[in-house]
Structure formats: structure tokens, C-alpha cells
Amino acid sequence: MALLEISNLTKRFGGLVANNAVSMEVNEGEIVGLIGPNGAGKTTLFNCISGFYSSDGGSVVFEGKDITRSSADQVCREGMGRTFQIVKIFKDMTVLENVMIGAFCRTTSPERARAEALKTLEFVGLVEKRDVPGGSLTIAEQKRLELARAVATQPRLLMLDETMAGLNPMETREAVELLRKINAQGVTLIVVEHVMEAIMTISDRIMVLDYGKKIAEDVPEKIAQNEEVIKAYLGERYYARS
């Protein structure tokens, strides 16, 4: 049985079908890349899976449990973490406090949450910044903080929405390393990313969305040669010429 099973997930915004009967499976320990042109419905899919949107059809089953109608906070407590495309950190709280909020998902004790948060900060390499307000970090650090906060909830599946957008090549490499480290701890990852270099190297499998539909799903090498994918990204004309 797969860790996450999505079948025929559909989400409409008025006349626009943002996700059209999307089905996918994610196995334990995998890193699955999710790509597609702007507006393909990647973030919408994340929002539907994580309970931020209620879907208009289809189902989401996580560890054998139907979570289609679960709210976002329930989904997190079930063991599925997420980050946001536009970082959402607690700006007035210190870096440590930010991560403690995540750790509080598994304990009510502030001491234990603090210890857990410090361990997580050590893990992502932000421990020196622990007493700095979240709002004063650089974008790269804020993205890492968001990741740390999600990791602190001890998820078995983590969904990352463009954690590398806006990072320089050096920071991107560090981010890829960090994702590998998190995956090595036994956390399954679904990664939305526009940085092709990163997603091609890190993913075990890649799924491609276009106009809300799944158009391809394969290993990275095959995806790079997939006709449908090239058409979606570069347009019909470019495909014809090549």
C-alpha cells in the first residue's frame, strides 16, 4: 500500500478547473517531484491534499486513512507537513519560538518543545539564529526556518512548495543537501520546484501537471525527453522544430 494515494482529485474555481481528476501514488521513502508551467495547478493540488481547500471530487488517502474531508490542522496532526510558496513565518516570534510551534504538535510541554526545536534547528543549521526574530532573517533563512518548523511536527510526508525559489546557486545546493538529509531520516517528500537542475537531481519520480491535468509521470531522465512535457513547457512550435 502506498503512503499517499490520490485518486481523481478535482478542484474547480467557478468555471476554471484547477485540478482535473488528478491521480497519483507516493510510496514511503520516495522523493516525488511535481512540476508544470505557471498556473498548472501545483499549489492548488497541495492545498487540496493538505486540507487548505476542500476538493470538489476524488479522494486523498494517507496511510490507509481517508483524509479528503480533514481540515488543515488535522492533516498536520495525522503526519503530513507542508511549506508555502510565499513564506509564512511568525515574524514577531524568535526563530526558536517559530520551531517550537511545530514541536508543540507532538507535546504540550514547553521544555520538551524547546529541546525538540533546538535539535531541529541544529539539524537544519539555524541554531545560531535561535534568538533572532523570524522577520529579520534573509529569504533563504526564512525558507529554511519554514522547513525546520514543518520538520518539527515530525511528519512522515512533507510537501514542499518551491523551497528553492529565489535562492542563489550556492543556497540552492545547500537546500538540496538539506532535503536529502530530511529524506534520509525516513521522511517522504513531495517537492514542487521550478529550479529544474534541482528537481532533476533530487527526485526519484516526477509528475507533470498542465492545465490541471496530469500529463506525465516517470523517472527524471524519461521526463526530460517526454514529448507532452516539452510541448507544455516550450509550446507546440518549438517541439515541431526540434
Partner: protein, 323 residues
């Protein structure tokens, strides 16, 4: 001695001196005016702390908190007049009713974000005020006069001196501050601040927004109702204009905003500034310029909104960080 130990020794010493001053105050200042002033400062500090739990920590700005104050006052007063039940039991009943009403108001209103929540609470406050204004059983516009009973703690009435009221409200404030302190250091306090900072991020980290907002609302309403009973026993008369006006709700919000929202000391500082200012302008400029304290309130709101949105505690924290 290290600098930190010196500092903490200084803090303990300061605390002891403050406690002695507060406990001996009624023996030193025996006139009604200073005692009344202190009683009001304590009561509004309590109200500010109560409001601060919902508005300051959890970030849900309510402008209808007079509802819970009024419910506390009306419940205990009604039970005393009708059935002769001691106001202390009436206070417990008032807390329960305030909690029930707070859930009824909070549940639908918490779906609204930001300003819309504040507007909805204003509307709720006015609905409750108008209801009591027209409710014959509750004295309508005339209000309720509490029976004069023998002086005793059980009767919650003291006529020869205001001092007992002083100690009762001081004790209530101490308990409230203790509750706020415990909340601030628990998971609850962390969750409240997370919700205020970013509700979506809070949800993604497993926080049930409605549940925790309701918890904040319930604690806040319960503490506010306690102050309502106290005020009714202190005045021995209540009507919608004294315990349910919009102005009271605004004051409850303004005190922590002035002192610093989301801090323990904020509401106390705010009350120490705002209440004397209101009282003095009312006493000394009463005949000449009516409503001057309202004018000053308005001015203060503008000044703080523009120059110091974090309140006076924000200044203290900034200074500390630098030093």
C-alpha cells in the same frame, strides 16, 4: 556578584517594596478619592489583562467586551435581588453565562478576519446593550438597585470604608495576572501568538484555529465577568449605561494597546496612565469642558497608532534589546 544576579536581586527587592506599598496604601491614604482611584486602576488593569488574552496574544480584537462585564454584573445582581443569593455564587453563575454567550458570539464571528471581527463584536455589544435597555425584568433603562445589606465579605458589601473593595480587587488582579503569566508560558500562549502572527501557517502546524480562538475568548470573557460582579457590588447600582456601553469596550481595548498588547505588564501600565488621566480631567474640568477625557482618549489613540503601535512596553523592549 554578577550583573544578572544583581539585577534579579533588585527585581525581588522591587517586588517586595511594591507589595508593601500596595498592601499599606489604604492605611496611608484614607480619603475616598485616592482609594477609588486605585480601585479603578486595578479593575481596569484586570479588564485590560482579560482583553489582552484574546486581543493581545491571540490577535482577535474585540470591541464588544462590555458584554461580558455587563453579564457578570447583571447575573450576580439579579440573583441577589431576586433570590438573595450571595454575589460570590452570583459571580460563578455570571462567569458561566458569560462563557456560554462568548461561545455563541465567538463561534460565528471567528470566521471573520481582522477588522470584520472587530466590527461584528461592536454589533454584538450593541445588541446586548439594547436588549438589557428594553428588558423589564432586568430593570430596563432604570437599572437595578442592589439591596443594602450588613457589611461582610459574604455579602460583598462594605459601607464604612472602601478598603475591603481595594483588597478584593487587588486580589482579583493578582489572580488574573497569574493566569495570564501561566498562559504566556504554556503551549496555549505560544499557539495564541502563532494564530495572531499567521493563521495559515498556524493551521499548517496542527493548530485548530477555531478551538484555540474559542479558548482565548472563554478565558477572556470569564475574567471580564468577574470584574463585572465586582463593579456591581462596588457601585450597588447598575444600568446599561454603566456596564454595557460601547465606550467601556473601547476602554478595555485601549488600555492594553496603550501599555503594550501581548505583554503581561502592558495592561497594568496602560491602566496606570489612562485611569488617573480620565479621573483627574473628570474631576477638575468637570463643569468647564465636559467629555474632555474622551477627547484625550482619542488623541492618545491617534498618537500611539502613528508613533508607537507596540505600546509603551514596545519602547521598553526596544531599549532592553539595545542595552
Amino acid at each position: 556578584m554578577t550583573k544578572e544576579r544583581q539585577l534579579s536581586a533588585l527585581k525581588v527587592l522591587g517586588g517586595v517594596i511594591l507589595a508593601i506599598v500596595l498592601l499599606t496604601f489604604p492605611f496611608i491614604f484614607k480619603k475616598p478619592f485616592p482609594q477609588r482611584m486605585m480601585i479603578l486602576i486595578f479593575m481596569y488593569a484586570l479588564l485590560g489583562e482579560a482583553w489582552n488574552i484574546l486581543g493581545g496574544y491571540a490577535g482577535q480584537v474585540s470591541l464588544g467586551h462590555a458584554i461580558f462585564f455587563g453579564l457578570g454584573a447583571y447575573t450576580s445582581s439579579f440573583m441577589l435581588i431576586r433570590w438573595g443569593i450571595t454575589p460570590w455564587l452570583g459571580m460563578v453563575a455570571g462567569i458561566l453565562i458569560a462563557v456560554v454567550i462568548s461561545i455563541i458570539i465567538g463561534y460565528p464571528c471567528f470566521r471573520l478576519a481582522g477588522h470584520y471581527f472587530a466590527i461584528a463584536t461592536i454589533a454584538a455589544g450593541e445588541i446586548v446593550a439594547i436588549t438589557f435597555l428594553n428588558w423589564k425584568l432586568m430593570g430596563g433603562a432604570i437599572g437595578l438597585f442592589l439591596p443594602l445589606l450588613d457589611e461582610s465579605l459574604l455579602n460583598f458589601e462594605f459601607h464604612s470604608s472602601k478598603a475591603p473593595y481595594y483588597y478584593i480587587i487587588l486580589a482579583m488582579l493578582v489572580v488574573t495576572v497569574f493566569i495570564a503569566y501561566r498562559i504566556e508560558r504554556s503551549r496555549l500562549g505560544f499557539y495564541f501568538r502563532a494564530i495572531k502572527n499567521d493563521p495559515d501557517a498556524a493551521r499548517s502546524l496542527g493548530i485548530d484555529l477555531t478551538k484555540y480562538k474559542l479558548i482565548a475568548m472563554i478565558i477572556s470573557a470569564a475574567l471580564t465577568a468577574v470584574a463585572g460582579t465586582f463593579y456591581a457590588q462596588y457601585l450597588l447600582f447598575i444600568d446599561p449605561h454603566t456596564v454595557l456601553p460601547l465606550m467601556l469596550s473601547i476602554q478595555m481595548c485601549l488600555i492594553p494597546v496603550l501599555g503594550g498588547t501581548g505583554t503581561i505588564a502592558g495592561p497594568i501600565i496602560g491602566s496606570c496612565i489612562l485611569i488617573p488621566m480620565a479621573e483627574y480631567t473628570r474631576v477638575y474640568l468637570a463643569g468647564k469642558v465636559s467629555g474632555l477625557h474622551l477627547f484625550l482618549y482619542g488623541l492618545l489613540i491617534i498618537v500611539f497608532a502613528v508613533f508607537q503601535p507596540a505600546g509603551l512596553m514596545g519602547l521598553v523592549q526596544r531599549y532592553r534589546r539595545r542595552g
